[in-house]
Symmetry: C2
Subunit: 318 residues, 2 copies
């Protein structure tokens, strides 16, 4: 069996290896991604996003359990440096996760293994594609919900779940400021805490404001209260995610395709940006132009970054 067949058949070791190669940016991983692509397009990609400490990992863990009860396979990608998947959590969290580590129907991969932020989002889409091609019915992507990268990842999911907790007024401000417009489902986790109803009410108001700004939206964002560590409300969240998927895939509707086109466009722009920089740097290297020297000229005010960028790009890329 060649490597593509191995991945498509769901071989865990091969999947782990290709994900590592993607992380390491091995050139060989690109040709594998090319050959895997025809096998993609089946998985339901669900993004979970929110500030550190709101309990995204516990929710992802619980939701994975619901899929498993129906014998559906799950891929989990944690782009959250605070996630227990990345080894950054207290022992209790790790133990809670271990039941999935032992389940061959769940593939878990952390994307912060090196303790660095760079390049995470870039490879996330590629890793989603691998898990999709490997036949996972659903891919759950956990990200910290602030910053352009995270918004891009959330944008690239079919269903986006925004997680907050009671009393995080500023969090809601953040949602208001930008993330609001990308949320399909809002979760108030740790709903046993004081202020949960108030947070729900605030979200309801924001959703109403947001609805006016979202053109052509025919899905009204849902709010779900949960207590992930006790498993409370997670069944409702699971149902709501499934409802959103059904909404997108409704017969005669173009919604699923529209979401997929949006995801694809974002991924294409992101890949073009990164690869174009690579081409530029490679070309400078071939010409014997040292980036160090360019930096020195800027620092010494012999030139400026705007002129240097213009000069480099005016020459074209080959």
């Amino acid at each position: 069996m060649d490597i593509i067949e191995q991945i498509v058949s769901g071989d865990v070791r091969t999947i782990a290896r290709i994900l590592r190669d993607i992380d390491d940016e091995l050139p060989s991983s690109r040709s594998i991604l090319q050959r895997l692509y025809p096998h993609t397009g089946k998985a339901h990609v669900v993004g979970f996003t929110g500030s550190p400490g709101v309990g995204k990992s516990s929710l992802v863990d619980q939701i994975a359990g619901f899929y498993r009860k129906e014998s559906r396979t799950v891929g989990i990608l944690a782009v959250d440096p605070t996630s227990p998947f990345t080894g950054g959590a207290i022992l209790g969290d790790r133990i809670r996760m271990q039941r999935h580590f032992l389940d061959p129907g769940v593939f878990i991969r952390s994307l912060a293994t090196r303790g660095q932020f760079g390049g995470l989002s870039k490879s996330t889409n590629d890793m989603v594609n691998v898990l999709d091609a490997a036949g996972k019915d659903v891919v759950l992507v956990e990200t910290v919900g602030v910053g352009q990268d995270e918004v891009e990842i959330a944008n690239s999911a079919h269903t986006t779940v925004l997680v907050t907790v009671p009393g995080m007024g500023d969090d809601i401000q953040a949602i208001k400021a930008g993330i609001m417009e990308i949320g399909d489902i809002f979760v108030v986790n740790k709903a046993d805490r004081e202020g949960s109803r108030k947070t729900v009410r605030e979200l309801m108001n924001l959703i109403e404001i947001g609805l006016r700004r979202r053109e052509g939206l025919d899905w009204e964002p849902q709010i779900v209260e949960t207590e992930a560590v006790k498993g409370k409300g997670v069944d409702k969240l699971y149902e709501t995610i499934e409802k959103h998927k059904a909404h997108l895939q409704a017969t005669g509707s173009e919604r699923w395709r529209e979401v997929v086109e949006k995801r694809t466009r974002i991924q294409l722009m992101s890949a073009l940006r990164d690869q174009a920089l690579k081409v530029v740097l490679q070309r400078l290297d071939e010409q014997g132009t040292s980036v160090d020297e360019l930096v020195r000229r800027i620092v010494d005010r012999e030139s400026d970054p705007y002129t240097i960028v213009e000069q480099i790009l005016d020459k074209g890329l080959q």
Copy 2:
């Protein structure tokens, strides 16, 4: 007086206009940035980064007051969607800020006016350059501290202040995972809250771990406890920021230049990446290649994003 002279002389209206033009990505702003660049390089750029709700804005507000007491001019850029500078905060915060709004020695600009995340970090460096050229002695940049963009902004400051609050265990995990390595000063704000000492101890441990990973570091990261709303401990923070600046600028030391070179390199890479994408898209447009059509071919699995990116870049950029 031409526009460059007006900016260099600190004319508020002209500065506001050029910042707006940068935000709007007007091509004319680039030539102004080119001409302003020789006037840059004097301001001390201080980044404040941390999760929403930790009180960065209050700290920035207070610190600005200390600079003003010494008649130094201040530029403030808030890249935090939850910042009161962006109009997203409760009334009390806004009132607190207003004393600076009335002070001609403080120029405040929010970078989230449109409720969007895209392109914020890209223009932040340009805006820092404008305020630098306009003669501000210090530029305070407030960002939400998670995500690649924010780390890049923090990396582009001379002095980076990481802000947390007691009991945000997960926040500290985030710091551990990556941001740790970029912090010069750590602030435990809201230090009257339970757990402040514990948070300080955790930070001390992390700094010790971090020190082992930072080569050639001769500045030991400092921890400062504050209660920004009451103004407690902010004098200590101000002194520590000044101490870090003096450390960088110590006679016979290359530290300041090293930091500037690092900032410049990051800015150059970021600008090259963004501009290269622009060139690629413009070229596709001139060739009559529709991005919509490329997206359709990928979605219909007639091709894949990896092959399409390769084909576009193989042709070079002109």
